[in-house]
């Protein structure tokens, strides 16, 4: 009987981690779905962002960007400051369709998705970092750890995901499912950037970070996005996400 008990115990030792793993795998997906719900809950958003770029020597540069976003795949951004970039606009549409408007040339130009690896307006955020995204549609999740306050998910790109990153590690606030921190890894597995969301607040029923900081570990440059103003669900028309509006 003792043997039987010990056998059961050993079997249990073998199977329980597997059961936990399955539960965690399922939970990971559920957690990521909840993250998407929180990030993309608003039908539309209109915000003004102040951007501060500080390089490793402490030199500072400031930017101001006006952003319109609708759903999880339409975004229009217009640079307000600095003067040499004023009026430059970016329009992201479903299917990786990106347009840029250059006021100096009076022309809307179609740009290919290779630009997603580029820095957005000279910041440490790339176009990919800035675009609205549904993580669960592009990334596979695995629960690495959890404690009383956070879930830690490891995200790996799904096949059709052309991300510049080889993986992400996302630290999620258990209270509201808003990501507190995202570590970005290159294709070789080296951590290259850390994004930290600070001062998360609930505004008009939606969670949003008042500040987001991106630290580029390769250059030690740091970019901080500060939310100057935000409006949710103001009924943004689809007409805003057009070349016509981009030139306005």
């Amino acid at each position: 009987m003792l043997f039987k008990k010990s056998t059961l115990f050993i079997w249990a030792l073998c199977f329980i981690p597997a059961l936990i793993f399955c539960a965690e795998d399922l939970n990971a997906r559920e957690i990521l779905n909840k993250v998407d719900e929180v990030l993309l809950n608003a039908k539309d958003q209109q915000m003004v962002m102040k951007i501060l770029i500080v390089d490793k020597k402490g030199n500072r540069k400031e930017r101001e960007v006006l952003i319109y976003q609708k759903g999880d795949n339409k975004r229009l951004a217009k640079v307000v400051q600095p003067a040499d970039q004023r009026g430059i606009g970016f329009l992201s549409l479903p299917g990786d369709i990106i347009y840029v408007y250059l006021p100096a040339y009076k022309k809307v130009r179609r740009i290919a998705s290779h630009v997603k690896n580029n820095k957005f307006a000279g910041t440490d955020f790339t176009y990919e970092d800035m675009e609205p995204k549904r993580y669960s549609a592009q990334w596979s999740a695995q629960l690495l750890n959890a404690d009383d306050t956070i879930y830690i998910l490891k995200l790996t790109p799904q096949k059709e995901n052309n991300s510049e990153y080889g993986g992400l590690v996302m630290y999620i606030d258990k209270d509201n499912f808003y990501p507190k921190k995202i570590e970005h890894f290159d294709k070789r597995g080296n951590m290259v950037k850390i994004m930290t969301n600070l001062k998360t607040e609930k505004i008009n029923g939606y969670y949003i970070a008042r500040e987001a900081e991106m630290l580029d570990l390769r250059t030690n440059n740091r970019t901080t996005l500060t939310l100057d103003s935000v409006k949710f669900d103001s009924g943004l028309s689809d007409d805003i996400f057009t070349e016509r509006f981009l030139t306005k």
Partner: protein, 444 residues
Amino acid sequence: MRSIILLTLIIIPGFVLGQSLELGGYLQTDDRVFLKEDLDLSWQDYMVSLQAQASPSDNVNFFSEIWLRSHGFSTINTTSDLEDKGKITPIKMELREAYVDIRGLLISSLDLKIGRQRIAWGAADKFNPTDNLNPDDLEDIWNFGRHLGSNSIKLSYYPGKFTIEGVFVPVFTPAVLPSGQWQKIFTPQFSMPPGIVIDNIYDSIDLPEISLKQSPIYGLKLSKNFFGFDLSMSYVYGRDDLPIPNLTVLQPAGDSGKFDIYTRLIYPKLQIFGADLAGEIKGFGIWAEAGLFFPEQINMLIDLSAIGMGQIDSVVLEDKPYFKYVLGSDYTFRNGIYLNCQYVHGFINERGNEALKDYLMFGMEWKLFSEKLKLMPANLGVEIGDYKKLKDNYAIIYSPQITYYPFDNTEISFGARLIDGKNTTTFGKAKDNDEAFVQVKFSF
């Protein structure tokens, strides 16, 4: 008087529209020197661009841009010229644009833009065979693709996913040609009968009559996104903005035994059917743009009666269509290197199937040190006049450049333009014009 009118265009909207007025612009200096023994200065242009924008309501937007330029060098010849500031320090003022853009006029999907404006058509990069509404501004030959603004009316209609643009430019305006040492690249070569010595060359230009029958330009464009590719088709009825001779007369130059040549030039009527495409394949940006040009036939009368050879009537421009096109692609690598490549068939000044040459353009940009430095080490252009006689029909332009951004809104660029080639080609004619340049730009 002209200055007052132009400045009023900036100031009036401020009074009328109060707080919604935004002012901006930039200062740009551009000094160039020929890389020859004497290091002659080839170009000096110190310019302030003043831009004003006002939006009194969501649907109405005003924009104007004025260039104030200290361009060129003193042109004094006599002591009396020293009383003329215009000759001592040439200052130019230019109204680049001044328009009102009204969105949702009568119906929500109709926009009207009226005033002096730039209407840039075409998907290619700087070389646009479908960009024919505004006159070419070739004053600075290195600034390909620059155009003047045109006093015009543009209607844009957005039915569903289509965009339809209609443009009316009431009065034809000719292109600005390159000045000084660069003039020769657009000047056709000609040879005279043996023993004829030319003293002077005169010319006159006949502008089309300013009437709704003779001088307007019309344009129509239809655009849509199909399967992820942006496509458009366009039509322009107007005139070639570069003149062509239709009369040449050889005249004795007094009793010197030499001869003068008089040439009259006109601007031929032209119709252009255009199409362009832009999109991406496997992450590479791709574009194609083409214009099918239908010119009117131009005959030139060559009057050699002065040397007993009578008159010769010849066709200098056939009314046969010719086809200019551009194919291009670009890509940005993960390390920030940007590559851009274009194949161009037919340069701005070329017309008629036999005259169209091929150009291969290659550009590379590399942003370094947190985008404080931009290197352009491999900007290269190759002109091919005739593949069968390549040795005698080519030109190469190499234009490396470095731009430094020490602070926001400030950029300092320096570089060179080195040309080699044969006189049979457009750029080969300027092979002695190698130059270096320094440019500074400050935006405000």
